[in-house]
Symmetry: C2
Subunit: 448 residues, 2 copies
């Protein structure tokens, strides 16, 4: 009797997961059903694989959803995160396991008791970040604690960046390897919270990109990390309730944040109101909306004066490279500043077919062995994509999902309830398999 | 047959309105009913006046509300703005006029057609700002337009400030003469929008207090104005749809905004999350929450370095005067940064019994007579309070409400529908009466 995996959502980031299941389907006796609203997409993704079925499906088709879940051994949802819950409730009703790469929502967490009672696993946060970060951090933290160490500091960064050699003419060293809207709105909305040397620290959004940390990694070079909003939230899951320093962040190449800060300072990342555009708005006029009126000064001069930018700085070079001061029209009629900024950035930051991206993940752990002083370990991983269609981003989301599906169906992962992948019986087999696919962490003492 | 006025909400800002009605009650044959939840407050405010009745009343008492409105000739609501609508609906049902000092809400505006049909007046925005600003601006604008002028620029500022001589030892030249929470949150939440020389301009909150304008007024000295969020919203009501420059703002004394900006930059005006306080939080530690960790630097040094404040600047003097760096405890256990900042400011910015406040209002109007070049008129008004219990703030809210009540009951104001006081038949009799109570505008050419 073959085992049946149903994947909801077959979009861009599902590529590697589908490949993973198809590669093992013959040997494992699996059937994969792709359920998506987009028929064209389904055809491209199914690739005439004999173990793969495609079903044009919309979440409003309730009886079909019921039928699909009932026919499955495992449900994987790569739909937008807020759509998981309606599928999870059907899984609970008919008794099926479920797997996602998304943050556990409050609604999902509330299903925990009933899932345990019904002997079901709802495994979440099983992508790259969240996902691989949990697995690798917990392996390192548990290993140190087993040796008797007390953990004094935990910092963790992930970045999706151009692979080496793929952004040589791009002074930002950056392009979009995932949802551009999320990049534009990164950090917006609320204050960042973390803990440093026993003190709580709070940073407002408009200071976020000026409070960065520089990290140097062997062979990979230098990165700068800006803080994520949620540094405190995994303290209890990681067993770090009283840790003096905890900080989670996002990597960019040095110089990015200082220049991105200009957009924040101007107010261009605001998504709360619409700009008036009668059709005459250009890149240049968009910048001018945020600058004080002056009879004769140019937009460039007003900007440099307003935000104290030296004329010959790399910031002006970066802004000019994006053609921010050009007379090119903005085609959006009704749009927020954030949507217009995304529109301008897309013109230069869309990945070209030959361009390749890279995922870099880094953990810095401080610890004390009994009677010894504080020491630090750096643990890091990098993974390069193959092309604009086969990105490190989609590989590192799809591979953990694929491996987890395999381990669930093979009965290796036997946890039940709504689960975050932070336990040894989950991360150990996961990391062992991921290693064979090139997701490998290395450890060093800090570089000077 | 006496006429019956019912006032909902007899709090601090109602003092002058109650006085106004009581002063005229005998002559005009009026009865005033004060309806409030607070029995003590009612007793203090009624002052055993023989024309005044007090009723302990809560908005949840629906049948009593019906009875009260039915018994009245005019309803005045000084309750918090969101509570007006439930009273307005009863007024509409039983056919009574209503008067408020609050901004017209969307829900209120929707009652317009039915109010006209039922021959009712719902007159709003009849306090100081909004209120006296509408009356005085429209009088000036209409007068210029009647002379054939085209209006090219409209700027308008209001400020509640210490009266001259009442803040000599206070380097901020500021104390709370109205709701402190509104002062702390002023401008927060969204971008500011205005128009300058034909260009739309947008300012994000974190830049608001750095984009100020200095204004000098005869005898009153210098002020600085920061922009309000809603500069564009009265364009059509004022007949200024295509005006190149329109800007509305709030007055402070020079130097205030630059120092207030420090709180904004640090993130202390954020009202969206709660600070963790185990009881050990002091003023000094509150500041430190927003500063990067440093092994040895003092909080003062870290702050000056972080926000580029010269050690000998007036900004540090202002912060020290507020005892921001003291080890005084913060008694609030669960509070947002904005609530903690308000708590600290209350210790120094609460009006002392002998202190007096002042309202300053200023309009700058640019205009062109046919064939002539652009000219400017400055129109301004100042009004001083008598004590901390008899403030300019409550007088300038209560007097327009009192005058409007008189003019409605006397049949002088005959408009119907949901009305903003921008028409000649409203502002002309209003301004004539207000003048006799010391609310007088003077006009000059701009000072150099």
């Amino acid at each position: 009797m073959p085992k049946h995996i149903v994947l909801f959502g077959a979009g861009r980031s599902a590529t590697r997961f589908i490949q993973y299941i198809q590669d093992l389907a013959e040997e494992k006796n699996w059937i994969l059903t792709l359920a998506d609203r987009d028929a064209d997409l389904l055809q491209r993704k199914a690739k005439n694989n004999k173990h793969t079925r495609s079903l044009v499906f919309d979440l409003s088709q309730e009886s079909l959803l019921h039928e699909l879940v009932t026919s499955a051994d495992l449900i994987v949802s790569m739909l937008p995160a807020h759509l998981h819950i309606s599928i999870a409730k059907v899984c609970l009703e008919v008794g099926r396991h479920m797997l996602t790469a998304s943050y556990i929502s409050k609604e999902m967490m509330e299903l925990n008791d009933e899932a345990i009672k019904k002997d079901l696993l709802f495994l979440n946060e099983m992508g790259v970040d969240p996902g691989i970060d949990h697995l690798s951090a917990m392996e390192l933290l548990d290993r140190l604690r087993e040796q008797g160490a007390e953990i004094t500091c935990f910092e963790s960064f992930t970045g999706g960046l151009p692979a080496p050699g793929c952004s040589d003419d791009n002074p930002w060293n950056y392009f979009f390897s995932w949802n551009p809207r999320n990049v534009v709105l990164a950090g917006a909305g609320g204050a960042v919270k973390f803990r440093q040397e026993g003190k709580y620290k709070y940073i407002p959004y408009h200071k976020l990109f000026r409070r960065t940390e520089i990290v140097q990694l062997p062979k990979l070079g230098r990165f700068e990390g800006y803080p994520n909003r949620d540094s405190l939230k995994y303290r209890s899951a990681y067993g770090l309730e009283d840790i003096p320093t905890i900080f989670r962040g996002t990597f960019r190449r040095p110089g990015f944040c200082r220049a991105w800060d200009i957009f924040v300072k101007l107010g261009m990342t605001d998504d709360s109101y619409e700009i008036y555009n009668d059709g005459s708005l250009t890149h240049r006029e968009f910048v001018n909306l945020f600058l004080a009126f002056h009879q004769s000064d140019s937009v460039e001069l007003k900007l440099m004066h307003y935000l104290n930018i030296p004329q010959d700085s790399d910031i002006m070079e970066k802004l000019e490279w994006l053609e921010l001061f050009s007379h090119e029209p903005i085609e959006l009629q009704r749009a927020t500043p954030a949507q217009i900024l995304e529109h301008i950035l897309m013109k230069k930051w869309t990945m070209q077919p030959e361009q390749r991206d890279m995922i870099v993940m880094f953990h810095k752990v401080g610890y004390k062995m009994p009677g010894d002083s504080e020491k630090f370990i750096h643990s890091y991983m990098s993974y390069e994509g193959k092309s604009a269609n086969d990105t490190a981003m989609s590989d590192t989301v799809g591979l953990p999902l694929g491996v987890a599906a395999e381990l669930i169906l093979d009965g290796v992962i036997t946890r039940r309830g709504v689960v975050l992948p932070v336990m040894k019986d989950v991360y150990e087999p996961m990391l062992a398999k991921l290693k064979t696919y090139g997701i490998v962490f290395e450890e060093t003492a800090p570089l000077d």
